[in-house]
């Protein structure tokens, strides 16, 4: 039984309170065959193919925001890291750092949305851990998830596979997540109809894998936004990315919020968007594949890979000028994921 209304230090002490929390909350919400034995490790069947491993920490504030919460974000984010590596997600693990005083019901709702996201993707949370720290030593709740996936193909989805002339595709609108969280935080005194785009991308990526070697590289442009993801690609591939400003999709309320705050949507986090580089003669097919899925309905071609200048991202502005899209210095939007 879990009678407490607030998390206290005994929930992390390893004794009876810990067991109550694990059984009456985590197991009840997340329960599955792999997790149920509550062993020190989940023991799972072997997979046939290259494995993808990833881990990610979530410190978003506030814990609940329009369009999602930290639990859903932590599942989708790790699923997406596996998906863009070309992997089919198999297993997740979750670690929780709880601050003394966190309402149990808030924790339950976060774990419940985590379970819903995992179930929607058909990927069980197979192992977990919980620690409690004193009040003031954490901000409510931090989550770390890790994931294992398998690659059912031999494609090399790495920057080195990208060639000049390849096309850059984006699965939908930019900057929804980052701006939703910023607005939800309330200290900007802004209101707007902006929701996080947190969503699992593994179905989109799986569909794109059907392109074979015409699919070069994929990323989910989270923290640092599209600009950061493409700068990393340009640097690692020693190629240039040229973007077309007028092709970049941004929802009007997101655009408005970015203008008011002086923030470039290219640098704002997305949590349910895919950027993919494909061979030029497959771009039309790839767009059709993306648009056939609800998460890719707004997919567009946004740019092209060029041989020079190496390591740079350029933007042709709507006005007919051009500029460099550089790596960001500092962080205008801390703690959004």
């Amino acid at each position: 039984m879990l009678r407490d209304e607030l998390v206290n230090l005994s929930h992390g002490a390893g004794g009876k309170a810990t067991r109550d929390l694990v059984e009456a909350l985590f197991l009840e919400e997340l329960g599955n065959e792999a997790l149920a034995p509550l062993g020190d490790s989940a023991v799972v069947a072997p997979a046939d193919g290259r494995l993808a491993l990833t881990t990610d920490c979530y410190v978003v504030r506030p814990l609940v925001f329009p369009g999602g919460d930290i639990g859903e974000l932590a599942v989708n984010g790790t699923l997406n890291d596996l998906a863009v590596a070309g992997a089919r997600p198999l297993w997740l693990t979750a670690g929780f750092v709880l601050e003394e005083g966190l309402p149990i019901e808030l924790l339950r709702s976060v774990v419940r949305s985590m379970a819903a996201a995992a179930e929607r993707a058909g990927v069980p949370v197979a192992a977990g851990d919980t620690k409690v720290v004193e009040r003031g030593k954490a901000d409510g709740l931090y989550v770390t998830t890790a994931g294992v996936g398998v690659l059912d193909h031999d494609l090399q989805l790495v920057p080195g596979s990208v060639r000049p002339g390849d096309r850059v595709l984006l699965s939908g609108t930019l900057a929804d997540h980052g701006m939703a969280v910023m607005i939800a935080r309330g200290d900007l005194h802004l209101e707007g109809d902006v929701e996080s785009d947190t969503a699992p991308l593994h179905e989109l990526t799986a569909a794109l894998l059907g392109l074979g070697e015409a699919l070069r590289w994929m990323r989910d442009p989270t923290r640092g936004g599209l600009a950061t993801a493409l700068n990393e690609l340009a640097a690692q591939a020693s190629l240039a990315v040229r973007l077309e400003e007028s092709a970049l999709p941004v929802r009007p309320p997101v655009h408005a919020a970015c203008e008011i705050l002086g923030i470039d949507p290219l640098y704002v986090a997305n949590e349910g968007k895919l950027v993919a580089v494909v061979a030029a003669d497959s771009a039309v097919d790839a767009l059709a594949i993306l648009r056939a899925h609800p998460l890719g309905a707004d997919a567009v071609e946004i740019g092209v890979i060029e041989p020079e200048p190496e390591g740079m991202v350029l933007l042709d502005t709507s006005l007919g000028g051009s500029r460099i899209v550089d790596l960001l210095v500092g962080d205008p939007l801390p703690r959004i994921c």
Binding site: H255, D316, T317, S318, L319, I324, V329
Partner: protein, 375 residues
């Protein structure tokens, strides 16, 4: 997006670009200084230089309020922030600006209570929320942001807030413009006047530029079409033999400005004897200090400040960049010892600074040997 898209209309931009080309004489370079950092940022963000003919050279002026704050004043702010029981609140842009002892962001990491606010009134609200702490607002900016600080001082006075102060670093736009205009060998033929400052002080405040220095001024808004139109207006003045102050930003700026805002500034603040500007040196009567009736809220009276004057690094040529004598990439440390991550000089500090804007947005435009590509 309404009220933005119409000022970014590509067709309108193209026709203005064509008009600008028709107004220059081949081979005769006209140098236009955009005074305001917001203009510099917009020029690079939208790639406007590519829409201008070779004969039109832009010189990026001193109007970046973050950039002009001298390092000694940043050290003073850090000293306030490191005082026991004190919270220093300021605009986000100010956090990364290096002083002699690092930046406020570094002081925060060492344990100082530094918070980012979006308005001085937010800092005053913070003081009300946390009565056990003293909240000091690190006030920066030209006449644009001074009215908000003035209103905050007035309200703090009405509320008799006991735990609030302002570290006043507000600066005035006229003295640096005069300093630039007095520079021997000045290479600026016309000025795009600041928009937001002018909404407070009005366009008449720039009449000294045509009248005493023979250079035309057009006060401009911040969108790309606005800037192109302002440049076209400046060139038309030259072609027609006029030299005066014109207002492109008529949707906001009045000839005599905002009298209530000016009155609020005058009630709470007064010019100080002199103030040190990064890149421009010490300029007389170029900044504001808190007036005596508001002494209870004046951080300079409440705290013992180091008040050190720290010279800009010798290798830094920001002063010459600000007066249009060299372009950012002509400075020896541009993009090497001086980058946006580790700025040596004022112009590299904020994205509105000439060097930072050029480094981030424009450094491809020049031949490679001239424009080092940063790490």
């Amino acid at each position: 997006m309404r009220y933005v898209d119409e000022y970014r209309d590509p067709a309108l931009a193209r026709s203005l670009s064509a008009e600008i080309r028709s107004l220059v004489t081949p081979g005769e370079v006209v140098r236009v200084m955009e005074v305001c950092g917001g203009h510099t940022h917009a020029i690079y963000r939208h790639g406007l230089e590519e829409l201008l003919p070779d004969e039109l050279e832009l010189v990026h002026g001193p109007g970046c309020p973050v950039c002009v704050i001298p390092m000694g004043r940043v050290d003073d702010a850090i000293a306030i922030a490191e005082t026991e029981g004190v919270t220093l609140a300021t605009f986000g842009d100010m956090l990364r600006v290096p002083g002699g002892r690092g930046s406020l962001l570094e002081a925060k990491a060492r344990g100082a209570d530094v918070r980012m606010v979006y308005s001085p009134l937010d800092a005053l609200a913070l003081a009300a929320q946390e009565p056990d702490r003293h909240v000091c607002f690190f006030a920066i900016g030209f006449e644009t942001t001074a009215p908000a600080t003035a209103v905050t001082l007035l309200r703090a006075g009405q509320d008799e807030t006991p735990n609030f102060s302002v570290f006043c670093n507000h600066v005035l736009i006229e003295p640096p413009l005069r300093a630039i205009l007095e520079t021997p060998g000045l290479r600026v033929d016309a000025f795009v006047g600041p928009g937001h400052v002018s909404s407070v002080i009005g366009t008449d405040a720039y009449r000294f530029i045509p009248e005493e220095y023979g250079r035309p001024v057009v006060v401009s808004a911040f969108e790309p079409v606005d800037l192109l139109q302002s440049i076209a207006m400046l060139l038309r003045q030259r072609v027609e033999g006029r030299c005066e102050v014109e207002n492109q930003y008529t949707r906001v700026v009045r000839r005599d400005g905002n009298e209530r805002a000016v009155a609020a500034i005058a009630e709470t603040m007064e010019p100080r004897e002199d103030f040190e500007w990064r890149g421009l040196g010490v300029l007389p009567a170029s900044a504001l200090q808190v007036r005596e009736p508001f002494a209870a809220f004046d951080a300079e009276r409440l705290f013992a400040l180091p008040g050190a004057r720290i010279e800009d690094p010798k290798a830094c040529r920001c002063g010459e960049v600000l007066t249009g004598q060299i372009k950012p990439w002509e400075c020896g440390v541009f993009g090497t010892a001086c980058t946006p991550e580790r700025p040596l000089g004022t112009c590299m500090v904020s994205s509105e600074g000439a060097c930072a804007a050029y480094f981030s947005y424009g450094r491809l435009r020049r031949p490679r040997e001239e424009a080092p590509v940063g790490a």
